[in-house]
């Protein structure tokens, strides 16, 4: 089933990809990794009330997001797509604001980024991608929608409805499932009947692709093919990127209660960032000096984002009322007055 299997558990290859692209992938993955580390620290320091780590999923996210065209495509994320946002060019201070709980959904410009607001409803945004894609085709444009979702989300009715709609309408959607093998405390074998999410694709008459989610090059290739397929008007594709959530579900979670860390430890050894770094060297796409320079830039960028989000202004309480409606109501004006008199006082 995997159409672009990696050459083995111990190494990957990026020989099939242009050197500058692979260096870009590496830069984004490295930045996301460093930012993830900073974010966990910010949570420990009490700056973030909670955080969901993307560690170990950088290849799946960066490999896929980098296969899109941020000028015409559109991404529909869940709550765990920090590395995808980074690769796609989202304002990361605005993105991380959601983890500081400054604003549900984040503070980046969703319209300009063409990257949906952080969405906490598991499965919920998947039909949005289909609607967006249907709208794109209606207008005769060639953008592609990519919906991220998890193995747990695959159980939700909305994901089925969305895939069926996409199949019926032949909509240009890439359903990108990061199967990190856990949905909070529930492993695949108690979540996914039949054991394969990619295998569901056939039932909707669309291609299903299983890809090594820790192999950035393989993910990129699979996604680029699916995007091209959709752009040509040939309809949706379902990609299952097999990866692993090496951290607990979130900083509030205690993974020791439900899984043996040795499993996570095995996957930590298949670290996608390290794998890509080695592959870059092996392919001759970058030498140690070039990689060290990227590492330095990534760390600097991660720290810039960290500082930005740590010092961002809290929204004013009046913002409670600002965006409820486009066309304001007297009732909310009255309530805003109450707020001003009673709460701000």
């Amino acid at each position: 089933m995997p159409q672009h299997a990696s050459v083995g558990r111990g190494s990957i290859t990026v020989d099939h990809l242009p050197p500058d692209l692979t260096r870009e992938l590496y830069r984004h993955m490295r930045t996301a990794r460093d930012l993830d580390t900073e974010a966990v620290a910010l949570q420990r320091q009490g700056v973030f009330p909670a955080y969901v780590s993307v560690r170990g999923q950088e290849a799946a996210q960066v490999g896929s997001a980098a296969a899109l065209d941020p000028a015409r495509d559109f991404v529909f994320p869940t709550y765990r797509e920090m590395a995808a946002a980074q690769a796609y060019g989202v304002d990361m201070v605005g993105y991380m604001a959601t983890h500081r709980a400054l604003w549900h959904g984040g503070l980046y410009d969703v319209a300009a980024s063409r990257f949906g607001a952080v969405n906490a409803v598991v499965g919920g945004p998947v039909p949005h991608a289909v609607g967006w894609a249907v709208g794109e085709r209606l207008r005769g444009d060639d953008g592609v929608a990519l919906a991220y979702f998890g193995d747990g989300a695959s159980s939700e009715g909305d994901v089925h409805e969305a895939m069926n709609f996409a199949g019926v309408y032949g909509a240009p959607v890439v359903f990108f499932c990061q199967n990190n093998q856990w949905a909070l405390s529930v492993p695949n074998e108690r979540q996914v009947a039949g054991g394969s999410i990619a295998a569901r694709a056939e039932g909707y008459g669309m291609p299903g692709v299983l890809v090594d989610g820790n192999d950035a090059g393989a993910v990129h290739h699979a996604t680029a093919e699916a995007v091209a397929h959709a752009r040509r008007g040939e309809g949706p594709t379902l990609i299952e990127a097999l990866t692993y959530r090496v951290e607990p579900h979130s900083t509030s979670d205690d993974a020791g209660r439900y899984r043996d860390d040795s499993e996570a430890e095995r996957w930590r050894r298949r670290d996608p960032v390290a794998l890509l770094r080695e592959a870059l060297t092996a392919a001759g796409h970058a030498d140690e000096a070039a990689l060290a320079e990227i590492d330095g830039q990534a760390l600097e960028e991660a720290r810039r984002i960290r500082d930005g989000v740590s010092t961002a202004h809290e929204p004013d309480g009046s913002e409670l009322f600002t965006h409820v409606f486009r066309e304001h109501t007297e009732e909310l004006t009255r309530q805003r007055r109450t707020w001003k008199e009673e709460v701000e006082l």
Partner: protein, 339 residues
């Protein structure tokens, strides 16, 4: 007898034609599809069939299957697709076939449609108008006679409109679809076939205003949808006994016309609110509370509620025993008068 305030030929500024509510809605959709190329109409059976109530009759033929189309049978995806279409610049007018089948879509409506503009701080407006054939009175199967207005009115980010006659249906639908906020447009099934002269003119009264459909001084009957007609019947009967009731058609449940309600009740000193939904936590409570708050010193009696009972909407022969009857409303009027 007091005057009956209606948009009729006398005050008309547009052509007046005799239309049922279902036809008037169809006309409104034609106007909307014509005037704005971004408007899309879709849902279960709205395309080829023209909708189970024929509200979308002929629209696919006229505007093409790109603008007016059938969906697979999945309510949550219909609303989820609406979100995505709106994010891509369209103005979706989805239909969910019956009130009771809005429940599978509640997550998309409440968690997504209603708050996407908020979540994105205005970057992603949701000019979605959900057309929902609603309420009871037609002896339909289970789940075809529900009143969900309290749920929608309680959901921040949604507006809610309910027409009570063909002319209102025409004008309110124009307003709803043109509004850049999501609107739940609840169509009273029991009134679909009711014919009236309709003025095909632009709406003139702002979103969120109620209307007085009959003037009176002894008390105010407050209603929306099919219950407006029932209240007019009650007022007619009461007038025979010399009791002049004002009838207020709320028509916008969000935003709620608190000032309009208060102005009427301040004059009449008595109010009865009538709805089909069950009593407890129905919208009648909100209205009673607002009226009481605004008119506390003026009220001669507590606001009365005449509503459905706190039971699941029943089948055929029990339906008239569940819905507010003329007698029950008259009894409530009597209670307020004799308080």
């Amino acid at each position: 007898m007091t005057e009956l305030i209606e948009h009729t030929a006398d005050t008309a500024t547009g052509p007046v034609v005799e239309l049922s509510m279902q036809q008037a809605l169809n006309r409104a959709l034609r106007t909307l599809l014509s005037e704005n190329g971004d408007t899309l109409v879709f849902g279960e059976d709205v395309g080829t069939l023209g909708g189970v109530f024929r509200v979308t009759d002929g629209l696919q033929k006229e505007f093409g299957a790109d603008r007016v189309f059938d969906t697979p049978l999945a309510e949550s995806a219909i609303m989820g697709m609406s979100v995505g279409l709106a994010m891509n610049g369209w103005r979706p007018v989805p239909e969910l076939q019956f009130d009771g089948f809005a429940y599978p879509a509640v997550d998309q409506i409440v968690n997504q449609v209603a708050r996407m503009n908020y979540r994105t701080r205005g970057a992603m407006p949701m000019p979605v108008t959900l057309r929902l054939p609603s309420f009871g009175g037609i002896q339909a199967p289970e789940h075809h006679g529900e009143s969900l207005e309290a749920l929608f009115a309680h959901t921040p980010g949604l507006k809610v409109a309910v027409p009570s006659d063909p002319g209102e249906a025409y004008r309110l639908l124009l307003q709803a679809v043109r509004c850049d906020d999501p609107v739940v447009f609840m169509e009273p099934k029991a009134r679909y076939w009711d014919k009236r002269p309709v003025e095909l003119a632009e709406p003139t009264e702002p979103v969120g205003t109620s209307r007085v459909v009959r003037r009176g001084s002894h008390g105010t009957l407050i209603a929306w949808g099919a219950m407006v007609h029932r209240c007019l019947q009650v007022a007619e009967l009461a007038a025979e006994d010399g009791v002049e009731l004002e009838v207020l058609d709320l028509r916008w449940l969000t935003p709620l016309d608190t000032e309009g309600l208060a102005a009427s009740v301040r004059r009449t000193k008595r109010a009865v609110v009538v709805h089909e939904a069950p009593l407890t936590a129905g919208l009648g409570a909100e209205i009673a509370t607002r009226v009481t708050d605004a008119c506390f010193g003026d009220l001669a009696a507590p606001v009365q509620r005449v509503t459905g009972f706190d039971v699941p909407y029943p089948a055929g022969p029990l339906e008239p025993q569940y819905l507010p009857t003329i007698d029950r409303v008259l009894l409530a009027v009597q209670r307020t008068l004799e308080y």
